[in-house]
């Protein structure tokens, strides 16, 4: 890996992306060079996004005028704009902004006067927790159903499941969330409607756990109170289902398509001709290889999940990054919005890298 990286660092950062895969294949690039190239790709990706977001956000004016325009006297406004340095040439500001980012300074929110990185530290765990729950829901629902749909191909269960998958996609997460709240919370009263835990549990966690992780389930387990764990889980069910079903539909379709695809492969035919039963064919031969593309897709799902998390968190008042982002949006705090968007872009780029590497480790065909 080190040898290949020195070999590659001589190239400009943008070249690996555009370099035709055939060339790399000819030079016999292995896993090491794939990972290196893929890692280097993070930088142009993030750089382009940062640049795009920065210039887009500044084409309309500076964030202070956007946030406070009309509420302050023009003179006072100009003073604050100058104090924050927003009256300087745009390119100077851009360079300075890049410099800040390199030092991991994502800006300070206008409304709460808090570094954006701190917002991430405070609320990132909540979003992570929600995303993990949602992925679990997606796996548990999507993969077995997709396998079943492939098994029942072109018969009525397949038709029902395909329509179900489309419905999962067609229903906005926030509408699904509101429906769930109406049914299970307002009407039936089974589950709590809002928040990550009841106030009692939150106080219990704050008082009895020394170093709270911010992931409530872990914190609740640490308190040793079964009631707290139950409370946290009850709060998590509805948001997790709302967000998870979105991804479950994608998984269902993907597993179905891939299992049907692998069922037509030569080696499955060969196994069938040896007298292997249909069920065993499906379970042992077709199913497992069909799961590999899921790993790649999870990477893309992270972006979708983050977008969905913003909406789900707003629906359920789940105090995570998405909820904060929508609060900042309502407050017209565009410095905070910009910081969080850039931060999330970095998160997405890095997660995609990790997922691609995992996919390459599992499936040798992925490499260049």
């Amino acid at each position: 890996m080190t040898t290949t990286s020195t070999e590659l660092t001589g190239e400009p950062a943008t070249v690996p992306e555009a370099a035709p895969p055939t060339r790399r294949r000819r030079t016999g690039g292995g896993l090491g060079s794939y990972i290196t190239v893929r890692f280097l790709l993070i930088f142009p990706t993030v750089f382009i996004l940062v640049t795009t977001v920065f210039f887009l956000m500044r084409t309309t004016g500076d964030p202070i005028t956007a946030a406070l325009g009309g509420r302050l006297a023009p003179a006072e406004l100009a003073e604050r704009v100058a104090a924050a340095g927003y009256d300087r040439p745009l390119f100077t500001q851009y360079l300075e902004y890049l410099g800040q980012l390199v030092r991991l300074d994502f800006g300070t929110t206008l409304s709460t006067n808090q570094p954006v990185l701190e917002v991430l530290a405070d609320f990132g765990a909540a979003t992570l927790e929600l995303a993990v729950y949602a992925l679990i829901v997606a796996f548990v629902i999507g993969i077995p159903l997709g396998r079943f749909a492939a098994y029942a191909r072109d018969r009525w269960p397949d038709a029902v499941l395909r329509v179900f998958a489309i419905l999962c996609y067609a229903t906005p997460v926030f509408f699904l969330g509101m429906l769930l709240k109406l049914v299970f919370s307002s009407s039936l009263g089974w589950l709590p409607a809002n928040g990550r835990a009841s106030t009692r549990t939150e106080i219990l966690i704050q008082t009895s756990v020394d170093n709270p992780t911010g992931i409530y389930l872990i914190d609740a387990i640490k308190t040793g109170s079964g009631e707290a764990v139950r409370d946290v889980l009850e709060h998590a069910i509805l948001p997790a289902v709302a967000l998870g079903l979105l991804t479950a539909g994608v998984f269902l379709r993907l597993v179905r398509t891939n299992v049907i695809g692998t069922l037509g492969m030569g080696y499955v035919e060969a196994a069938r001709s040896r007298g292997v039963g249909e069920r065993r064919l499906l379970r042992k031969h077709a199913y497992r290889p069909a799961l590999i593309p899921i790993i790649t897709v999870i990477g893309l799902q992270i972006a979708l999940l983050l977008g969905g998390a913003v909406l789900t968190e707003t629906t359920f008042e789940w105090r995570g990054l998405g909820f904060q982002l929508s609060e900042f949006l309502q407050a017209r705090d565009f410095v905070a919005v910009q910081g969080m968007v850039v931060l999330l872009a970095v998160v997405v780029a890095v997660t995609n890298f990790v997922v691609d590497v995992v996919a390459a480790l599992i499936d040798p065909r992925v490499r260049y």
Binding site: A18, A193, T296, V297, G299, L304
Partner: protein
């Protein structure tokens, strides 16, 4: 490929007309059912948008009639079939007028992203070189970004959060454009790169056809195989993005237009107190439209390509080549078109 026989100059709507009839005749069984259901749902949506003035009992921003104010959160009655919102508007009327906003966003957003994306993809794939490389990197970067966040940023830029009707529509439409350009770009570019090596392109060059003519006549016409699918899926995605923006408070103000996502945002607190009629109708309207468009897109995808018609999944690897982008996250695996869809 006859279904794809069109040039960029033909409006988006018209290009779907004839092919759909053709597919309808071809389809059998479940596929036919899905296509018909999708067409019916979409047709009702379009009709509602066209006849909104006749269908809606009240205006979208009407707060009172001859008998006085409507009152807030009134439950469904003879006068207000679906009750009134927390702001005192008639829910049914707002749902009906919402179709217009939705249709406007779809048309503007799709037309913009379609033309820009297809043009860039053609030029990039056909000429190659440094422009191609730069465009691919940029498209990939945008593609990997959470669409909703991008839409938020764009909406801030366009409207600064202040929303008139057309300000709101343009904000959502341009946000959608920014998100979808890379998709058209990727698909068309990949196809162009493949097609430009074909013998008939060589022949056209030999007889002295201009670059523009080769691009539009020879390459584009053969590169549009997956476009109907992307078009319909993007149309439905456009609705979801518009609703998401509205739900986050970037909607169109209720006085200047009706928008379902914004209404759902206002209905959020009603849900906790068990008021169902402010949230379910606009939500179902969104599901209705998205479901209709998606069903049409899905069925077209299965039917447009003869190879996919009978055994769609087995050939997924074939269509997969369209989505492969150097260094892209969809690099391998038989995900195929499911891979494209999976990115929303």
């Amino acid at each position: 490929m006859s279904t794809a026989a069109t040039t960029t100059a033909v409006p988006v709507r018209r290009r779907r007309g004839l092919p759909v009839v053709r597919q309808l005749k071809q389809a059998v069984g479940l596929q036919r059912g899905m296509l018909v259901a999708g067409l019916v749902l979409t047709g009702v949506f379009l009709l509602t948008a066209a006849l909104a003035d006749l269908l809606a009992p009240y205006g979208y921003n009407q707060l009172r009639d001859a008998d006085g104010p409507f009152g807030a959160q009134q439950s469904p009655s003879g006068e207000h079939w679906l009750g009134t919102t927390v702001g005192g508007y008639d829910v049914l009327s707002r749902v009906i007028y919402g179709t217009r906003t939705a249709l406007a966003v779809i048309v503007v957003g799709i037309v913009l992203s379609f033309f820009i994306g297809v043009l860039l993809g053609l030029v990039s794939g056909y000429f190659g070189g440094w422009l191609d490389r730069v465009l691919v990197v940029v498209a990939d970067a945008v593609y990997a970004f959470p669409p909703l966040l991008l839409a938020i940023v764009t909406a801030i830029v366009i409207s600064g959060g202040q929303s008139s009707l057309w300000g709101g529509i343009m904000a959502a439409a341009i946000a959608i454009t920014v998100i979808y350009i890379p998709q058209y770009f990727r698909v068309i570019r990949a196809e162009t790169v493949r097609i430009k090596a074909e013998a008939y392109v060589e022949s056209a060059k030999v007889i002295g056809a201009s670059h523009w003519r080769i691009m539009t006549r020879h390459v584009l016409r053969n590169a549009t195989r997956t476009l109907p699918l992307i078009l319909t899926l993007n149309a439905s995605e456009a609705i979801l993005t518009l609703a998401g923006l509205g739900f986050l408070g970037f909607g169109i103000e209720p006085t200047s237009g009706a928008e379902w996502g914004f209404d759902l945002n206002r209905a959020l607190s009603d849900v906790t107190s068990g008021i169902w009629w402010t949230s379910i109708p606009p939500g179902l309207a969104i599901v209705w439209v998205v479901l209709g468009l998606t069903l049409v897109g899905e069925s077209l995808n299965d039917l447009v390509d003869p190879r996919l018609r009978s055994r769609r999944a087995a050939d997924a690897g074939e269509t997969g080549e369209v989505t492969v982008v150097p260094g892209g996250t969809l690099g391998a695996g038989p995900a195929g078109l499911a891979g494209i869809e999976a990115t929303r």
